[in-house]
């Protein structure tokens, strides 16, 4: 399964490492990533496309638990690898 997750996180230099570490350690592969700093809100918006056989809810709760993550939405889960629409949204 492939899943698209959108996150809003505190703008700390290590926040991307922190998130990607959880993705890897909890058994998911990173397929695509998009990250944008927002200077006015001091936050970072991140879109991840990940694939893996484990329940995506387990990854959602682990990412949501990170102190620096303030919002998380699961946008799309598909059995195929094509979720370009979600990435561009």
């Amino acid at each position: 399964m492939t899943h698209t997750i959108k996150l809003k996180a505190n703008s700390r230099p290590e926040v991307m490492e922190r998130i990607l570490r959880v993705v890897r350690h909890r058994g998911f592969n990173l397929e695509e990533v998009l990250m944008k700093q927002c200077q006015t809100t001091n936050s970072t918006k991140i879109t991840l496309k990940v694939s893996g056989d484990r329940p995506i809810s387990n990854l959602e709760t682990q990412l949501n638990k990170l102190y620096d993550v303030s919002q998380l939405e699961l946008h799309q889960s598909t059995a195929t690898a094509d979720s370009a629409v979600a990435m561009n949204a």
Binding site: P13, E14, E17, R18, R21, H25, P55, S57, N58, T61, Q62, N64, K65, L66, Y67, D68
Partner: protein, 549 residues
């Protein structure tokens, strides 16, 4: 004031009176500020010892434990301790010195990417980037360490920030946020409990961490539902509760493991379906529906799908959960299981049977005592054969299983609770892993009592080699151990060796009644194994039961 002085001010604001640590170049400004501070510093002999002492302090009191180290190797030596705190959800704040900000990333002396290393072994970590954010980060560190599911937080402070000037502003301490639970879900859970014929509480460390032991005990008294405990929960259920089945899992009581396999409703209360508890996961509690109560959303349905889950602070939830039950056939069955599988200590023989010694020690210790243990066979014997009145009195490295935990943890207990008899039960393998902390006991004249069970082996590994590796004893023979009595005496710690059954009573009496620290060196048979045992990959009802040697 300087950044270093600010660090100590904030610690004091959070009620920190004691810290454990080891100085070095990049944290010297904080140690300089400590020189004039009311905060009492306990110099350990290795940073890993400092981390475990902070854990012992936290686990035995429910307060935050604080440890400090310098940059580079000082910080890496904290890593195992922080990982241990992460696995067992212990509120610890670690403060590390870092090289000057301008030198970060230049491979300077004792410069390491401590923030990078911390990512997987802390609940949260910070590299302070400016003086302006120092106070705020320190306050956040204390808040994060204690809130929700507790855990370790690391704050890495570059030296230029320690020496810079800053104004101190008092900071309002945030109130703990308690999630609200849904009344309908609570009613559904109660209905499921009422409808069950064989309900069973599966109690984990979360109850003690939420300071909800009284609430749990009230709930048990009202519902009279049988209970099993994880390693970290031991002491939560009163020892005289008639339906207390004790430890569940790989080395759990037979009665607990048979009960969990037979129950029709498992009420998981602050536990996490660890593999050492469940055995083969898909055979665990095969007939049971599951109610999962926790404060951490990530634990719900992580390994076992919950039929009903409630996220809540147990102090608030548990009093609401009480229902009347009609389960007398089940209670009867549990009582019979307890009788059928009761421990026995009346084996004949002259050598020392460690479970018997530990059981007797448990009976003879004063009421206010805490036992810290290391990892291996002795750790399981402590869990099986000693009784505890609170999980704060049983400190065992559960999730991480870190050898070397016991001695420094007991030091932390003794500092936090000076009137408590702080006891270490260790094995000859584990003891040598942080043996340098005998120096800390000597320095601070701490009356820590040490029971060293010595089978001249890495006993648990040897047991597995015997059972599962065709008796090929690879690298588990420690018959060249040092003379432990002489070793203790080098640190001014009186010591005694016993090896015969008829010496047990006198040995324990000397341990308890000698003023100050004492080491009781107990020689035991290396062929004695821990029973019962659920072999790896098997279901909990497939326990092996061996013979006493």
């Amino acid at each position: 004031m300087t950044g270093a002085e600010l660090v100590l001010k904030v610690l004091q604001q959070h009620g920190i009176k004691h810290i454990f640590g080891y100085p070095g170049g990049a944290i010297m400004p904080i140690y300089d500020a400590l020189y004039d501070s009311d905060v009492e510093h306990f110099l350990c002999r290795h940073e890993q010892g400092a981390a475990f002492s902070a854990i012992g302090y936290a686990r035995s009191t429910g307060k935050v434990g604080v440890c400090m180290a310098t940059s580079g190797p000082g910080a890496t030596n904290l890593v195992t301790g922080l990982a241990d705190a992460m696995m067992d959800s212990v509120p610890v704040v670690a403060i590390t010195g870092q090289v000057f900000s301008s030198l970060i990333g230049t491979d300077a002396f004792q410069e390491m990417d401590v923030l990078g290393m911390s990512l997987s072994i802390t609940k949260q970590s910070f590299l302070v980037q400016s003086l302006d954010e120092l106070a705020d980060i320190l306050h956040q560190a204390f808040e994060v360490a204690q809130s929700g599911r507790p855990g370790p937080v690391l704050v890495d402070i570059p030296k230029d920030i320690q020496v810079g000037s800053v104004d101190f502003e008092p900071y309002p301490i945030a109130q703990k946020q308690v999630p609200d639970f849904d009344a309908q879900v609570l009613a559904d859970a109660q209905a499921l409990i009422k409808a069950a014929n064989k309900p069973l509480f599966y109690i984990g460390g979360g109850v003690g961490m939420a300071d909800a032991i009284d609430e749990m005990q009230d709930l048990l008294a009202k519902t009279k539902i049988p209970a099993i405990s994880t390693l970290k929960a031991l002491g939560t259920v009163p020892a005289d509760y008639p339906y207390n089945l004790g430890l569940v899992g790989m080395h759990g009581n037979q009665a607990a493991n048979h009960a969990v396999q037979d129950c029709d409703l498992l009420i998981c209360t602050g536990a996490r379906f660890d593999d050492r508890v469940t055995g083969k996961l898909d055979t665990f509690a095969p007939n049971a529906k599951v109610i999962h109560l926790d404060i951490d959303p990530a634990e719900i349905s992580k390994l076992r799908q919950a039929d009903i889950s409630i996220l809540a602070d147990f102090k608030k939830l548990l009093p609401e959960l009480a229902v009347t039950t009609e389960i007398s056939p089940w209670q009867q069955q549990v009582a019979e299981l307890k009788t059928q599988y009761a421990w026995r200590y009346d084996y004949p023989g002259d050598s020392i049977y460690a479970p018997k010694l530990l059981n007797l020690l448990s009976q003879k210790l004063p009421f206010d005592h805490a036992v810290s243990c290391d990892v291996g066979q002795h750790q399981m014997w402590v869990a099986q054969h000693m009784l505890f009145s609170s999980p704060r009195n049983h400190l065992s490295s559960g999730g991480a299983g870190t050898m070397g935990f016991g001695l420094p943890a007991a030091i932390g207990v003794q500092v936090a609770r000076p009137d408590c008899m702080s006891v270490v039960v260790s094995g000859d393998g584990s003891f040598m892993m942080n043996v340098q902390e005998l120096g800390t006991i000597r320095r601070f004249k701490l009356p820590v009592k040490i029971v060293l069970l010595d089978n001249q082996r890495l006993g648990m590994v040897k047991q597995w080699q015997e059972l599962f590796f065709e008796e090929r004893y690879s690298e588990t023979n420690l018959s060249d151990n040092p003379d432990f009595v002489t070793l203790a005496k080098a640190f001014d710690i009186p010591a005694l060796t016993i090896s015969q059954d008829d010496q047990i009573e006198d040995g324990i009496n000397q341990l308890i009644n000698t003023d100050g620290p004492f080491l009781l060196h107990v020689q035991i048979d290396d062929k004695e194994n821990v029973w019962p045992l659920v072999p790896p990959g098997k279901a909990n009802h497939d326990m092996l039961e061996g013979e006493k040697v």
